[in-house]
């Protein structure tokens, strides 16, 4: 296949060649970035929470007086435990994906100089650590004496369980067991490390901080009441949750049930990532529409060129070119134009990525997206040109003998 005559022909159609290349360049830029965004969203929505999501549900009550907290806890714990199928009920400050974080900045020295990041504190009453199903990787589980009364937002001096990723961040390369940290005056000592425990609103503060959680065993009381963790076998959970929500009206008529927050943890996860899924859907729609429009554009122009060159094709056929030669001519031509577009498109993709990084907490576009995008567009171009190229190949040599 000779490329020189193709270039010669393209020089005659500078405008159309330029337009198709531009189209491919734009498609390449948008395609790479949109795919990158989708992958980011999907990855975020598949993070590991570290808890037995299918077996857990939350009940959240509001609107009660603070002095009733102790009484409310007793009534709810007793009342809900009676529901058939309920494996455990415990008091907790929040569950993963509930979107109500209890964040505080921690320091690894008492003077407050060594800032170690903003972490989320989960206060959990007796039974909650076991109910969550946290996977202990170092140290021991909380014991009865570890549960201390909540003073401000957590106990003032407590043993805590932290996640592996927080341990690696705060004390890299050191055994975190027994290490201490502070939140102003309140002081904490690490008694154990768990594999994963996602924040109530994972994603805030960047993807690297998703697992920065601290579990503080806490004694339920006036400052620690209203949110309860239910555990049941996954098949019983919907019924248990329904019964629990119904029972609350009788157990705690003075409190208001927060229906959106009183859900299974699996459902909370669904709704938490709803926006990300919608966004991924929109991006997928944009990509589809864009590829379709690009393919139709290439198809339209190629059809025009085939029609315009019917006579030349006929002459080539008459002097000995095979159908395959004609087919390959149009395919090569398309390949060359698309390649030109892709080269420009890669530069555009990086430019667009830089613009998006300004608006978004978005990392730099990984290089391997570019060859994938290029392959996709080469494929698209070949697919779009196949029809017109086949029609060109079908032009009979006799056309050469007719005037247009």
């Amino acid at each position: 296949m000779q490329i020189r005559p193709i270039f010669a022909a393209l020089r005659k159609h500078r405008l159309a060649t330029f337009l198709i290349s531009m189209e491919i360049a734009l498609a390449c830029a948008v395609l790479c970035n949109a795919c990158f965004l989708i992958v980011n969203r999907v990855q975020l929505s598949h993070i590991r929470s570290g808890v037995d999501e299918g077996a857990l549900a939350a009940i959240k009550l509001t609107g009660f007086d603070e002095d009733q907290g102790v009484d409310l806890n007793a009534r709810v714990l007793n009342g809900l435990a009676r529901i058939p199928g309920m494996q455990s009920v415990s008091v907790i400050s929040a569950v993963p994906f509930s979107g109500s974080p209890n964040n505080a900045g921690i320091t690894t020295d008492a003077e407050g100089k060594q800032f170690a990041g903003v972490v989320n504190f989960y206060s959990g009453g007796p039974g909650s650590f076991e109910a969550l199903g946290l996977q202990l990787v170092a140290g021991r589980g909380p014991q009865e004496g570890d549960y201390q009364p909540v003073v401000h937002f957590v106990p003032d001096d407590a043993l805590v369980w932290i996640t592996q990723s927080l341990a690696d961040h705060a004390w890299p390369g050191v055994d975190p067991l027994g290490k201490e940290f502070w939140v102003g005056k309140p002081h904490f000592r690490v008694a154990g490390v768990v594999a994963h425990l996602a924040r109530p609103s994972p994603g805030e503060g960047g993807p690297s901080t998703i697992d920065w959680s601290v579990f503080v065993p806490s004694q339920p009381g006036a400052h620690f009441a209203g949110t309860y963790l239910l555990r049941a076998s996954p098949e019983d959970l919907p019924r248990v949750l329904r019964d629990a929500r119904a029972a609350i009206a009788k157990i705690a008529p003075d409190a208001v049930l927060d229906t959106t927050a009183s859900q299974g943890v699996g459902n909370l996860r669904e709704s938490f990532f709803q926006q990300d899924r919608t966004m991924a859907g929109i991006l997928l729609g944009v990509i589809t529409a864009m590829l379709l429009v690009t393919a139709l554009g290439i198809f339209g122009l190629a059809s025009f060129w085939v029609q315009q060159r019917r006579r030349q094709i006929g002459i080539r056929r008459a002097i000995g070119a095979t159908r395959g030669d004609i087919l390959h001519y149009f395919q090569t031509e398309n390949f060359l134009i698309v390649t030109g577009g892709i080269v420009l498109g890669m530069a555009l993709a990086f430019a667009l990525n830089i613009v998006l990084m300004k608006f978004y907490e978005l990392p730099r576009l990984p290089l391997y997206y570019l060859p994938i995008g290029a392959l996709a567009l080469w494929g698209l171009g070949q697919l779009a040109v196949l029809g017109p190229a086949l029609r060109a190949a079908a032009v009979p040599p006799v056309v050469a003998t007719r005037s247009v």
């Binding site: 405008l15 159309a16 337009l19 198709i20 531009m22 189209e23 734009l26 498609a27 830029a29 948008v30 949109a34 965004l37 603070e66 974080p101 209890n102 964040n103 505080a104 900045g105 921690i106 320091t107 003077e111 407050g112 100089k113 800032f115 903003v118 401000h152 937002f153 502070w182 939140v183 102003g184 400052h223 926006q275 919608t278 966004m279 929109i282 991006l283 944009v286 529409a289 864009m290 429009v293 690009t294 139709l296 554009g297 339209g300 122009l301 025009f304 060129w305 029609q307 315009q308 667009l352 613009v355 998006l356 608006f359 978004y360 247009v404």
Partner: protein, 440 residues
């Protein structure tokens, strides 16, 4: 000439109906995606109180204690301090240094009528008496409270017509007693529906909502006398715990100060006044931090709080990229169409038509394709907005096509059509007449 070009364009479009359809469809898709995202952006960045908000400013002086390690990041949704203590708000208010000023805080309270009816929750504002004229809240019945009632902590309340109907069963409930958090308040006025979007003075509660609106307005003094706390909290001194509905009045920051300033001189003057106040309080030892004051305009405050979600802006970028792609595509298709008519153009040129006439013919045809694309984009945009409304993210409920965006769509369609036609038209008018006539 107008009619002739129009007819030529119309004939041209009918010439190859398949590519015409492709051109119009591509144009419509690009326009519809751009218009859908732009409409959403336009709705979200709209002026909350047209005619009023450009003169509204929020003043803030830094009354926080010195920073401590491990300050909790919870508190205000945005993390931008904006609340004042009661004493400071009152001092700034009584100084009367702006043409109008008001202090306010958001409240959520259970309300009930005087005959023991159903209890329901209502959201509203506790404020000083300047609220109604300053924020443009119209009254349907009765009156709003006076500065004298403010000072006397009179237990009076203004409610919205909607809340009045729900609680009392009638719109005009002036003179009745409303129980707010169990405490009796006398209804002195009924307000018309008032729901600024975005909810700029209470972003902690919501930014955009088609279902929530402030419907309960009462004096700050009466609120405190009844022991009903505010909702907002900008934190308290000495780590005093922060408890919903109860506030340690002298130690917590929970009021925001809004002032009306009519020109740049007044703005500069008020900014200086706030700074002077902060310096004076710092000198007296009340403010621990170095004197620091801020004066936010409404648009500035909204931008600082990222009221328009990032997703919305990103979508505009994406749709813009898509529209550009569609334009390039259409330009290619149009170039093919025009050059296919090289013979016809050659004959026109040979018969004496100047290049401008050929150029005009082609641009006319492109513009017409653009307008047709715009017409088709209208139902597509409505469909796109319907899809957006189905996302239920608070702000999405507001996505409707208004007449202005409708006109904008047609303007955009025409401009896009003409722009897209330029390049192919330029190419077409350079067709050599001799060559074409010879080959024909």
């Amino acid at each position: 000439m107008f009619g002739y070009n129009f007819e030529l364009a119309w004939r041209g479009l009918r010439h190859h109906p398949r590519t015409t359809l492709l051109v119009v469809l591509t144009m419509a898709l690009g326009l519809a995606s751009a218009m859908t995202t732009l409409t959403l952006l336009h709705v979200l960045s709209s002026d909350p109180l047209p005619g009023i908000s450009q003169h509204l400013y929020m003043g803030w002086v830094d009354s926080r204690q010195l920073p401590k390690a491990g300050d909790s990041t919870t508190g205000s949704a945005s993390g931008i301090p904006s609340h004042l203590k009661l004493a400071d708000a009152q001092a700034l208010l009584t100084a009367h240094r702006a043409p109008a000023q008001v202090m306010l805080t958001e409240i959520i309270q259970d309300v009930q009528n005087d005959s023991g009816g159903k209890t329901q929750s209502a959201v509203g504002i506790a404020a000083s008496s300047g609220l109604f004229p300053m924020f443009g809240i119209a009254l349907l019945h009765g009156r709003y409270w006076t500065p004298a009632e403010d000072a006397a902590h009179a237990p009076v309340v203004v409610i919205s017509g909607g809340l009045s109907r729900e609680v009392f069963g009638t719109q005009d409930s002036v003179g009745r007693t409303l129980r707010v958090g169990g405490k009796p308040f006398r209804v002195i006025g009924v307000s018309a529906k008032w729901a600024p979007q975005p909810h700029f003075y209470g972003l902690d509660l919501w930014a955009f909502s088609s279902s929530n609106a402030d419907s309960l307005f009462l004096p700050v003094g009466a609120l405190l006398d009844s022991g009903l706390g505010p909702f907002a909290s900008g934190g308290c001194d000495d780590d005093t715990p922060l408890i919903f509905g109860k506030v340690n009045v002298p130690h917590c920051r929970w009021l925001s100060l809004w002032v009306q300033l009519n020109d740049a001189a007044q703005v500069a003057g008020y900014r200086q006044f706030l700074l002077d106040y902060a310096s004076q309080q710092h000198g007296a030892g009340r403010f621990e931090r170095p004197p620091h004051a801020k004066l936010y305009s409404v648009p500035g405050w909204l931008a600082l709080n990222h009221v328009v979600p990032d997703n919305v802006r990103l979508n505009v970028w994406l749709a813009g990229g898509f529209l550009l792609l569609c334009m390039v595509n259409v330009a290619g298709l149009l170039a093919a169409r025009f050059l296919r008519r090289s013979v016809e153009i050659g004959v026109r040129r040979a018969l004496g038509a100047p290049r401008q006439a050929i150029f005009a013919q082609c641009v006319w045809e492109a513009g017409m394709a653009g307008v047709l694309g715009g017409a088709l984009a209208l139902p597509l945009t409505s469909f796109g907005l319907w899809v957006v409304r189905r996302q239920h993210q608070g702000y999405t409920d507001l996505a409707h096509l208004d007449p202005l965006t409708f006109a904008g769509l047609f303007g955009l369609a025409l401009v896009v059509g003409l722009l897209v036609g330029m390049l192919p038209a330029w190419r077409a008018c350079r067709v050599e007449p001799g060559l074409q006539v010879k080959s024909a």
